[in-house]
Symmetry: C2
Subunit: 322 residues, 2 copies
């Protein structure tokens, strides 16, 4: 039986995807098909293709809405691969009785990101389902992009620094705070990443945006695929005080919190200063948060000098936040 | 307020899409963005990109299931444009409590079409929504294809014959019969069209697969975009007796019935015999059903010689059949 954890971005989700992949397994010319975006070699350049489904609750939240997150999510999956997003598809399933003005508000939000980034919505589908058979609205976007050189999450090297493009987890706590009716000034970090990735992409060895499953899922992927051990420094944790306080209050693992407008990257010692200088034009909170060393797994080096392992998210994850 | 008709493939659906398109309207290098698949010029060839959402009820039906239809639907949207499908994305939203064995059965069905057509599933997303917040499962596929020459639905010329690749409407009546608990031997016509389209594509002036909204939506699109009048011949109606009987019994407009494995095309007088000969290798029921003449609109020439207009579907359409 399918449980909520099968969609949470953690261990059970990955296990389900592995099971589906054992069934749906045509050998193909595409590469990177186990990751968020697949790659097809067009000869002179690479075609990158990705998709994401959004069933978030609430659909409007401080800092964004389901339209913004659906647009940014797919743009970002292309951007962090170093692919220039060419165009997106937009598929919308709407519950009968949904307010047209809310639908149009969501459309305006999609249009705003599309115009800001100059990435068009080029094809779509609209379906309506009987009242009571869906919770308001579901949006699936897919996107295609072109890259000269793909950056994936398997290129981190021993000696590389791990950097973040900004403070993390604000998207996750924003939705959680809303759901638990907790007052806070924190807003979702949801935003398109193509512009900043364009500025620094050529300096990076590996990159990934920490959405579902947060840094715990994300950095473990980089460590696994790159065959390095990653040590994060507790002194440099990229979380605002309010974010930490809220996760403690709600009993949520900080490292599982999703962001929707940040990326984590592995960058050589030599390129680190230049990358951070460029990233600071977008966000002053971009910084080094850890280091790649020989070994495997992801560890947090505490202020007292001990190491605790940060595992792929395993427990009950709060559903429908990204 | 959103009504079921806003997703039915007819007039209200098109009106809603027009309204959304007034909001989401970034000028773009892509063409054909108002149709089922958009086109991007890569120089030596065209990239074709499409998406479709599936919320059908029932999810298993005679002749297929939601996995088969989601795979064929996107393959066919690419195929009828003359684009070789390169790869599909698969985004699945599952209701908590859904049986894993049913999910795996759907995956097997997707894999079967993928292997038969040699078109891989290359990227995806899996989300789970709380019990009671979705009716079982929703699948969205997107697809990318490459074409040397795109065939769209605006190329029909005065004098062209209108042909069908086989009898129509069987998918629609299969799902309706199931929903109304009516016993019939009819099975869904759901199948991938790439192989037969590859055989005849270069002979056609315009083509389209009559899915949501059926022939009524489909041939009106060809007539509108090609600026021709299309006359269908009542003597040559491509519907099986049982299909006609069931629509009469249920009070459903025959021409609104969707097919999921057929296409309609405009073909010159000169190429008609050759196209039909090739199509007969796949389906003996491929035949001429009408003609393009000067004028506009779509008309049915009755056995008595009078003409009745076949309009874009306007009334209440049965939802969730494709």
């Amino acid at each position: 039986m399918i449980e909520l954890e099968h969609g949470g971005g953690g261990f059970k989700n990955n296990e389900l995807i592995r099971q589906l992949r054992e069934i749906i397994n045509l050998k193909t010319d595409w590469s990177n098909t186990e990751d968020d975006a697949a790659i097809y070699d067009l000869g002179d350049q690479k075609l990158v293709f990705t998709t994401d489904a959004f069933i978030i609750d609430p659909i409007f939240f401080p800092g964004g809405d389901i339209g913004k997150i659906a647009t940014c999510g797919t743009i970002n999956d292309l951007a962090v691969m170093g692919a220039k997003p060419l165009g997106l598809s937009l598929s919308v399933v709407i519950e009968e009785g949904f307010a047209k003005k809310d639908l149009f508000k969501i459309a305006e939000s999609i249009d705003k990101i599309s115009k800001e980034t100059n990435i068009p919505i080029v094809t779509g589908d609209t379906k309506v389902i009987d009242k009571g058979k869906l919770d308001k609205i579901e949006i699936t976007t897919a996107g295609v992009g072109l890259a000269n050189k793909v950056i994936d999450n398997g290129g981190a090297k021993v000696g590389d620094n791990i950097i973040t493009s900004g403070d993390l987890g604000e998207h996750g706590v924003t939705l959680l705070a809303y759901r638990f009716d907790y007052q806070t000034d924190i807003k979702s970090d949801c935003k398109p990443l193509w512009e900043e990735f364009q500025a620094v992409g050529n300096l990076l060895n590996a990159a990934k945006d920490p959405t579902r499953g947060g840094v715990a899922a994300n950095i473990n992927e980089i460590a696994d695929k790159s065959k390095v051990k990653i040590i994060l420094d507790e002194d440099k944790l990229p979380y605002k005080k309010d974010v930490i306080a809220l996760t403690e209050l709600l009993g949520i693992e900080l490292f599982n919190l999703p962001s929707e407008g940040r990326f984590i990257a592995a960058v050589s010692e030599k390129n680190t200063d230049q990358a951070l200088k460029k990233l600071h034009e977008f966000n002053p909170e971009a910084k080094v948060i850890g280091k790649c060393v020989e070994g495997e797994g992801v560890f947090l080096k505490t202020k007292l000098g001990s190491e605790r392992r940060i595992e792929e998210p395993k427990g009950k994850l709060i559903p429908r936040i990204c």
